[in-house]
Symmetry: C2
Subunit: 171 residues, 2 copies
Amino acid sequence: MGWFSKDITNMDDLFVHTLRDIYYAEHQIRRALPDMIDKATSPELKQSFQTHMRETEQQIVRLQEVFRLHGVEEKGVNCPAIDGILEEANEVAGEVDDKQVLDAALIAAAQSVEHYEITRYGTLKRWAEVLGTAKVAELIKASLQEESQTDEILTRIAARANETERESVAT
Amino acid sequence: MGWFSKDITNMDDLFVHTLRDIYYAEHQIRRALPDMIDKATSPELKQSFQTHMRETEQQIVRLQEVFRLHGVEEKGVNCPAIDGILEEANEVAGEVDDKQVLDAALIAAAQSVEHYEITRYGTLKRWAEVLGTAKVAELIKASLQEESQTDEILTRIAARANETERESVAT
């Protein structure tokens, strides 16, 4: 992310740099999702990834609005964190035949992506409350809430899969 | 993480592989913390990093106990996600003179690390409830709770810094 490159001297620089970090991350996530949708075997999981792809597109639009309201150029900066997280997620490359194992690994990968987004939007929301307008904070809060909800949905899908596994172990 | 390398064919393989992923991650975090402690300027932040370093050491010991109880070799596997997250955190390299900006960036970096650990321990706890013993699930739960608490502490420290910033903007 280069938080400490010399061009960051104040909180506003840090805010804008982090906006550009998550802007890049959202684009990378948008690119990764079709493959995850394709690989998910449970219809419920496939559906949740499809919903999240539409949300991701909306989150990109929200970020563009934040750039506009904050009066700075809309652009991304490289983010080794999301690259590393997606490198793991992208390894979901069809090597596994067992559907349950495949879905479990996809959920784990997606939740690591969600948590990255939760932490970044949480930080941006905090900073926006001091540096931005009320509208900027509100846009960031909307995306933060969506990410948290997606994480909760994935936890519920995983819990149901666990119940099935527990029953199969018990019988 | 190589979740989908060909040696992962069942849920137990996935569980063990993810244990080794977080085992590697905890070691990398342990290595990164002294530098973060050194850079933090707020005594409260410095103290929270010191506490977290001791917790990290304890979490490594817990993972060793989990490996032992689960009857598998204790070892790490490369994890591009934590490498990427720490690459960002490690850039906190003293280029910034402003103490407030430095601490804000350190908190953001530390929270992205915490959220990675929260997602991995959350996944492992879920799987351990089906695949492991009650003791294994309990050990993982203890680390998950510590990570969540650390994240909450960092949020509180950041909120107080925000209040100070808001007051300085208002005056």
